[in-house]
Amino acid sequence: MERTVERDSGFEGSGRALRDRLTRFVAVGEVGVLLALIVLVAFFYIMEPAFLSERNIRAILRVVSFIGIIAIGQTILLVGGEFDLSVGAVAGLSAVCSAKLMTALALPVPLALLGGVLVGAGVGLINGLVVVKLKIPAFIQTLGMLFIGQGLIQVVTNGYPVYPLPPVITDIGYADFVFGLGWSFVFFVFAALAADFVLRRTVLGRNMYATGGNPEVARLVGIDTAHYKIGAFMTVGALAAIAGMFVMADLASGTTSIGSGWELNVIAGVVVGGVSLFGGAGTMAGGLLGVLLLQVVTSGLVVVGVNANWQQIAVGVIMVLAVGLDILRRRYFIAGSSAQPAAAETTTKAS
C-alpha cells in the first residue's frame, strides 16, 4: 500500500480524492489475486470453520513454503523472460544427491546439504548456458533437463528411497519454532522478502525486468542480459534444490518422488498471481499469492468435504476464475476510472 500512497503526490491534485485513492488501490496488481484469495478463504471458512484452524493454516503454510521457495526463483526467472520446467526434477535430484552424500558417502550433513544446493545451482547453470549461449528455447532445454533429472534420480537411487537419514535431518524437518512451523517456513519468508526487495528496489531487479521485457533495449542500454538470465536460472535451480531438501527433511527420507509434478504447479501458481509467461511483468508478492491461492483451494476443497472426483474439477475452474476476476478488475475498475491509465496495474506490478 505504501507504494500506492506514494503515487499520490504528483500530477493531479484534484478532488475525487477518496474515490481515486480507492481506484488506485484496486489498480495495484496484486489486488486481483488477493481479492480472489480473500473470497475463497471466506467461502471455505463459512462452509467449515475448521478451515481456519491453526493446524490447517499451518499445514497450508508448510506446503506453500516448499513450493513457494521454488516460486520465488521461478518468478525471478519469468520476470527475466525465461522459464524452467525442470524445477521439480531438480528438487528431487538435489534431495536424493544430498541424501546419498550424507549416507552412502557419509559426508557431514552441512557439506552434504551444500552439495545438494550445488547440484541445483549447477543444473541451473547448465540450463542458463544452453539457453543463452546455444540459443536453445528454454522450453526444450528445461523439459530435456526434467527428463535428465528424473533419470538421474533413478540412477542415483536405483529407485529406492534413501533412508534412513542422519537424525539431524529429522530434527530440521521436525522443528516447529515459529507458529508451529520450522526452518523451511523461515527460509521461505526471508527469501521472499529479500527477493521482493531486490526486484522492486534495486538496479539488479529493474535490469531483470528490462531483460525480460525487451532484450533489445536491455542490450542497448548495456545490460548484460546473458548474465542476468544465467543468474536467474542458477537462482531457481538453487532454490529448487533447497526446497527439495526441506521436503526431504520433512519426510525424513530421500524419496524419489520428491518434486514430481511441481513444474506445472509452480508455474501455474505464479501465473495465477499475475506474473507474465512472456517476461518482464509481475511481482514477487503476486507470484507468491498465486501459489498460496492454489494451495488454499486444494486444501479447502478437502476440508469442506468435496467429493474427490470433483475436487480436481473445482481446482481447474477456480484457477481460471481467479485469473478471470483479475482481468475483470482491470477492465472495469481501472479502465472506468478517470484517474488511472488503462494499464496502470502493470505499473505497480513493475514498480
Partner: protein
C-alpha cells in the same frame, strides 16, 4: 541390464508402464534378482514416469525390445483390462505370458498362462478386520488412495465392504486421492483431519500412505490408528515407533520373484499352475522382525 546373448539362460522380458514409480521399482528389483539367480537374461521396459500410467507409450518399448531379442517368456504388469489386448497378441505370437499383482480369473484374459499376486480383496479385508478390532468396532475412518486405479479401487472396495459387514458402527469417509508427491499428500491429509474432527483412524491403499498419515497425524496432533501399504524400511520404522498401527504386507517383492520363477518355468516348457495367490497379511509392531530380516538380506 541387457546382456542378451552373453549368458546362456532364457531371455525374459518384464513390461511395466509407469516404470519409475517407487513401488514398481520395488517389484522390478524382486524380478531382476530372482531372474539373475535363475541364470536368465532379464530386461525391464515401460514408460519412464512415476506418475503417468501410459500403456500405449509402453507397448512400443516392449515391441522394440522384442524386435531385438527373441524372448522366451514375457511378464506383463496387468492391473487392468487395457493391457489385455497386448497380452492376447503376445499369446497369439506364441509367447508364454505371466502377469502379477492382480489375479484375473483363468480364461478371462486370452493368452495369459499364469498369474500371481496377493489376493487384493482379501488384503483389503484383512486390513478392515485388523483396524475394526483395534478401534473396538466404532469410530470414523479416513480412506485415501494414491490415485484411482484398479488395484487400489478393489482394495478400497473390499475394505469398505468388510467394514460394513463386520463393524457396521464404523463410518468411512469418502475416498480422497493423495497423489504421488509426498508433501502435497500430507497437506491434503491434514486438511482432511481439520474438516473431520472425529476421524480416529486412517487407511491408505498406497505405499506412501503410512508416511503421509503419520506425518499428518503428527502435524495435526491427532493420534490415529493408521494402516498403510508395503513393508519398505521406512514404513516398518514408522510402525515400530508407534506412529502407525500397521502396514499391509503386500508381497511385492515375493510376487515379483515368483513371477520370474513362473516365467522361467514357462520358458523351459514346464507346466505351471495358472493361479498362484500369495498371502497379504497386516503386520503390526509385533510382527516386524522377519520383514527387517528380509530387507537386510535384500540389501535394502
Amino acid at each position: 541390464m541387457t546382456d542378451a546373448g552373453v549368458a546362456a539362460g532364457k531371455n525374459i522380458l518384464w513390461v511395466q508402464p509407469m516404470r519409475d514409480h517407487p513401488v514398481h521399482r520395488l517389484m522390478q528389483a524382486g524380478f531382476l534378482n530372482k531372474c539373475k539367480e535363475l541364470g536368465n537374461n532379464c530386461e525391464v521396459v515401460g514408460n519412464p514416469s512415476a506418475t503417468n500410467y501410459d500403456v500405449p507409450g509402453s507397448i512400443p518399448l516392449a515391441e522394440a525390445a522384442m524386435a531385438r531379442t527373441k524372448f522366451d517368456a514375457i511378464a506383463v504388469y496387468g492391473p487392468g483390462p487395457e493391457i489385455y489386448p497386448f497380452i492376447g497378441k503376445l499369446g497369439k505370437e506364441g509367447f508364454p505370458v505371466v502377469t502379477w499383482h492382480v489375479l484375473p480369473p483363468e480364461g478371462s484374459v486370452p493368452g495369459l498362462k499364469a498369474a500371481t499376486g496377493e489376493d487384493i480383496p482379501s488384503a483389503g479385508k484383512a486390513a478392515a478386520l485388523s483396524m475394526g478390532e483395534k478401534l473396538g468396532g466404532k469410530g470414523v475412518i479416513a480412506l485415501t488412495q494414491g490415485s484411482s486405479n484398479d488395484t487400489e479401487n478393489v482394495m478400497s472396495d473390499s475394505f469398505r465392504k468388510t467394514m460394513a459387514e463386520k463393524y457396521p458402527d464404523i463410518k468411512i469417509l469418502e475416498t480422497q486421492m493423495e497423489g504421488f508427491e509426498p508433501s502435497a499428500a500430507e497437506g491434503k491429509a491434514v486438511a482432511l483431519l481439520q474438516g473431520n474432527p472425529d476421524v480416529v483412524a486412517a487407511f491408505s491403499t498406497t505405499g506412501n500412505g503410512a508416511q503421509t498419515w503419520s506425518g499428518a497425524a503428527r502435524k495435526a496432533e491427532r493420534p490415529l490408528v493408521i494402516i498403510g501399504m508395503d513393508y519398505i524400511r521406512q514404513n516398518l520404522d514408522i510402525v515400530k515407533s508407534g506412529a502407525a498401527y500397521g502396514v499391509v504386507a503386500q508381497p511385492l517383492y515375493e510376487e515379483s520373484a515368483l513371477t520370474a520363477q513362473l516365467a522361467n518355468d514357462l520358458a523351459e516348457g514346464k507346466e505351471v499352475a495358472y493361479m498362484n495367490p500369495l498371502p497379504a497379511s497386516v503386520i503390526t509392531a509385533a510382527d516386524l522382525e522377519p520383514y527387517y530380516k528380509m530387507l537386510d538380506s535384500a540389501g535394502q
